[in-house]
């Protein structure tokens, strides 16, 4: 089974006079067929990791580390090799996928496009294959939808269309970056159902980047929570939501509406000047002297991984 | 505590850095700076006084690098002093045209409704008026001078600026901070000039530059037609005199080609500068904002 293996990934951006330390020595394993939710708040680096995998980062980026996919280090692959991989083997659905739809082209054609480009299929065949796939994914009233334009549908519908079109080449890994961002409750539910469906039918691996707790709870197998460019905890879905171990994960749960909106003290971390040692220590109620000096190691407890001295 | 001088300097350095991304623009900027420098320090740079007379119709030589004209004036001196007139007319016309266009565009775009309709109708009327013929007619009945050119061209050229400003204002007025400003209770006047205007800067500046360029060409054409001010010589006027007073016939290329070249090169440099501005608005936003004096420094000490 395919497997994505990220080893010691560090990403930095230079903007003017500042350097943004977006990702700091992240290691992650994504096994085939599983849905891994990479969660965290704005600026924690989760989108950067997604973009690093398919190498869609801007020019002034320095990347260190390795990302193994099917035995190959993607960070050392050539642009041509990557073009082969992108779309066919690793599909990425970027933020605001609805915006990725060309408003003046019919939906059917846009879904069929990857087939025409990558598999060099003739248009008619591609469109009919796209139709078949849309059938599978429970798009009702198909005939009209294929011939329709994006603006005739809601945001949620367009989002689902993009996700569907990313499936058309049967990729091994799908990376979905904030697929429910900007959608209201109804549309969110639609997209959630869509992703859950894909997971069941295709058995592809899904790397879900999100800050939407409901989405992760619904469909993720494992949860990895990030803060300030580091992964703080990785755990099985049920175990994580029942009882998170890392102080940040705990504090974040307490901020949720169902737990009373209890705020985490202190300002969010500035990515241009992150704290030394444990990145969360200035805001942590359990901090000890060690936390300000050393970076906590990743500790394995009961099949989970936590980066905190509390569990050392 | 930020000092005022370094932050402005940094801003200009960044401008150069930014312009450097497009080598043509950097060249444009440097050339334009040279022309500005020449215009400002004409008195020091010119080899002779503007009214000093020598033997007429001389070819280029050691003492007269570009020879002399029919009145015996040194052509190089004329060229250098001419830069002042040409640039001044260009810049003042652009100021008038852009200023008018800015105000009308702001008012029209923000207030909309009947004000907008009326102002746009007026703009359309002005658009129909042919500029050069109007200047010619005015020049016939009034004393021809550069102020006439500046006034007439300025009062006719605001039309293109108005449309650009108006569409930008239509965009801006829908933005959240305008609604916020209205809710906070700011007067419409404040919103127009203090909130909306700074956001139109990146539309105005390239337009201003291009208007300077167009105005310089227009002035040169009008001077060549004999409608310029005979007392202060612009580059266009120099070409006119070369034509009128026998420079063309005598093949005195050193008389009419340098001013023509100057006009062309100067206009080109301005256009190239405005290209880089249009191409990287985001980066120039940072530079522009770096030039605004620090609030804390202003208020705290």
């Amino acid at each position: 089974m395919s497997c994505l293996h990220i080893k010691n990934l560090s990403v930095q951006f230079k903007t003017g006079r500042d350097t943004v330390f977006a990702v700091d020595r992240v290691s992650l394993d994504h096994t085939g067929g599983e849905t891994l939710a990479l969660m965290g708040e704005t600026g924690c680096g989760k989108s950067v990791i997604a973009n690093s995998i398919v190498r869609l980062l801007p020019e002034n980026t320095s990347i260190k580390g390795e990302i193994f996919f099917k035995g190959r280090d993607l960070l050392k692959a050539s642009e041509r090799e990557l073009n082969q991989i992108r779309g066919q083997e690793i599909a990425i659905v970027l933020q605001n996928p609805g915006l990725a739809l060309n408003p003046i082209k019919k939906l059917g054609k846009q879904i069929a496009e990857p087939l025409v480009i990558h598999k060099k299929m003739p248009w008619k065949q591609a469109v009919s294959q796209a139709e078949q796939m849309m059938n599978q994914l429970r798009f009702t009233g198909l005939k009209e939808k294929i011939k329709a334009y994006p603006f005739q549908f809601s945001g949620g519908m367009n989002q689902r269309v993009i996700i569907a079109s990313s499936m058309v080449l049967d990729p091994r890994v799908i990376i979905a970056d904030e697929p429910t961002k900007g959608l209201d409750m109804e549309a969110r539910k639609e997209v959630m159902r869509e992703l859950a469906d894909i997971k069941k039918r295709k058995g592809s691996s899904l790397l879900l980047i999100t800050h939407d707790f409901d989405l992760s709870r619904e469909i993720a197998d494992r949860i990895a929570i990030m803060y300030a460019g580091e992964i703080m905890e990785i755990a099985q879905n049920k175990k994580y939501f029942k009882e998170p171990l890392h102080p940040y994960a705990r504090a974040l749960m307490q901020s949720l509406p169902e737990n009373g909106f209890k705020p985490i003290p202190g300002p969010p971390v500035a990515m241009t000047d992150p704290p030394r040692g444990c990145k969360f220590h200035p805001r942590c109620p359990f901090r000890i002297k060690k936390c300000a000096g050393e970076r906590p190691p990743e500790i394995t407890i009961n099949g989970r991984q936590v980066r905190c001295f509390l569990y050392a | 505590m930020k000092q005022k001088a370094p932050s402005r300097f940094k801003g200009l350095m960044k401008f150069d850095q930014e312009a450097g991304r497009f080598p043509a623009s950097r060249a444009g900027m440097i050339v334009f700076m040279i022309f500005l420098f020449i215009a400002l320090f004409a008195g020091i740079l010119a080899p002779y006084g503007p009214n000093e007379r020598f033997a007429p119709f001389e070819s280029p030589s050691h003492s007269h690098f570009l020879g002399t004209n029919d009145m015996g004036h040194d052509i190089l001196t004329e060229l250098i002093y001419g830069s002042r007139v040409s640039l001044l007319v260009g810049i003042l016309t652009a100021c008038l045209a852009t200023g008018l266009g800015l105000v009308i565009g702001l008012v029209s775009g923000y207030f909309r409704g009947i004000t907008d309709e009326v102002l746009m109708a007026v703009t359309d009327i002005f658009l129909m008026i042919p500029r050069i013929p109007l200047v010619i007619i005015c020049a016939v009945f009034l004393r021809s001078s550069y102020w006439l050119i500046i006034l007439v061209l300025g009062l006719l050229w605001w039309t293109t600026t108005v449309r650009i400003v108006r569409s930008k204002v239509l965009q801006i007025r829908e933005m959240g901070f305008i609604v916020s400003a209205e809710t906070l209770g700011f007067s419409k006047f404040h919103i127009l000039f203090s909130e909306i205007l700074p956001n139109t800067v990146f539309v105005i500046i390239p337009k201003f530059m291009l208007t300077v360029a167009s105005a310089m060409i227009a002035e040169a054409s009008l001077s060549f037609l004999g409608l310029g001010d005979p007392s202060s010589k612009s580059w266009g006027m120099m070409i006119r005199y070369a034509f009128e007073r026998g420079g063309f016939i005598r093949d005195m290329w050193w008389w009419y080609i340098p001013p023509g070249l100057c006009i062309t090169v100067c206009v080109l440099s301005i256009v190239l500068m405005s290209f880089s501005l249009e191409n990287s608005v985001d980066r120039f936003t940072d530079i522009f904002r770096g030039l605004i004096p620090s609030f804390t420094r202003m208020r705290r000490d």
Binding site: E41, T42, G43, D184, M185, E186, H211, F213, A251, L252, Q254, S255, L256, P257, E258, G260, F261, K262, P263, I264, P267, P268 | K2, M175, G176, F177, V179, S180, A181, E182, T183, L184, G185, F186, H190, S194, E195, P198, N199, V201, T285, R289, I292, S294, F295, T296, R299, R300
Partner: protein
């Protein structure tokens, strides 16, 4: 002691008309009535697109209702004299969903605060600075943001700035239109706590608009739901 009723929305309806000749109407909502007491929070909830923002804007006096009245301290705001309107404008404020959108992208935060001070008629620089400092302390902002532009600040910081600006005017009512829905979860929790604290310290009434039921329940004393099947207050 009954709380003083600051604002009353009476039988307000809104229809948006479009089309040049045949002015077609799209009715957003009909006959909404509610009142905002002094110092309390009234929550407005409902699905997206149901007209909550329009109702908020009507209450803030930004757009007029098609039918009905909005009374501030007993007077209809759309029929007020200039002086009364100016007072209303100062005392009733609104905060919006997009934190960065509420601020002028070409002005530093310091200048934006200062502009509001001058609006209040504060000509003395020192007093203005003092007032700005007070408001920044209340909203948890540090000095260094004064020289920054809105796009250099985080969403949470921008929302604090927006709140600070509003507080400079010493309002009595703030209408909040989903102020935290664009923010991260932990930042949202911080802002909500801040809003509660400020409400107590400054004795301000809130009209809180959100589609999130749990949020509304957390923030409000009384809730008004605009969903068609639940149009009642509870």
């Amino acid at each position: 002691m009954l709380p003083l009723c600051l604002m009353e929305i009476q039988d307000v309806s809104k229809t948006f008309r479009y089309g040049l000749i045949k002015r077609k109407g799209r009715s957003v909502f009909n006959n909404i009535s509610l009142s905002i007491p002094s110092g309390g929070t009234v929550g407005i909830t409902g699905k997206s697109g149901i007209g909550k923002t329009s109702l908020g804007k009507i209450a803030a006096g930004i757009i007029p209702p098609s039918k009905g009245h909005v009374l501030y301290k007993g007077k209809d705001i759309f029929k007020m004299q200039k002086a009364e309107w100016n007072t209303f404008r100062t005392k009733v404020q609104m905060m919006f969903q997009d934190p960065e959108g509420a601020l002028n992208p070409m002005k530093t935060i310091g200048r934006q605060f200062n502009a509001v001070c001058r609006l209040m008629g504060e000509k003395d620089n020192n007093k203005a600075c003092k007032r700005i400092q007070e408001v920044m302390d209340q909203t948890g902002l540090s000095d260094e943001i004064l020289d920054r532009f809105p796009n250099e600040l985080s969403g949470g910081q921008n929302q604090r700035v927006a709140l600070g600006r509003v507080l400079l005017l010493e309002p009595e009512i703030i209408i909040l239109d989903e102020p935290t829905s664009a923010l991260d979860i932990s930042v949202q929790a911080q802002i909500l706590q801040l809003l509660k604290t400020i409400q107590q310290e400054n004795r301000i009434s809130y009209l809180y608009i959100s589609h999130n039921k749990k949020l509304i329940e957390f923030m409000s004393d009384t809730i008004f739901s605009m969903d068609k099947d639940e149009q009642d207050s509870y």
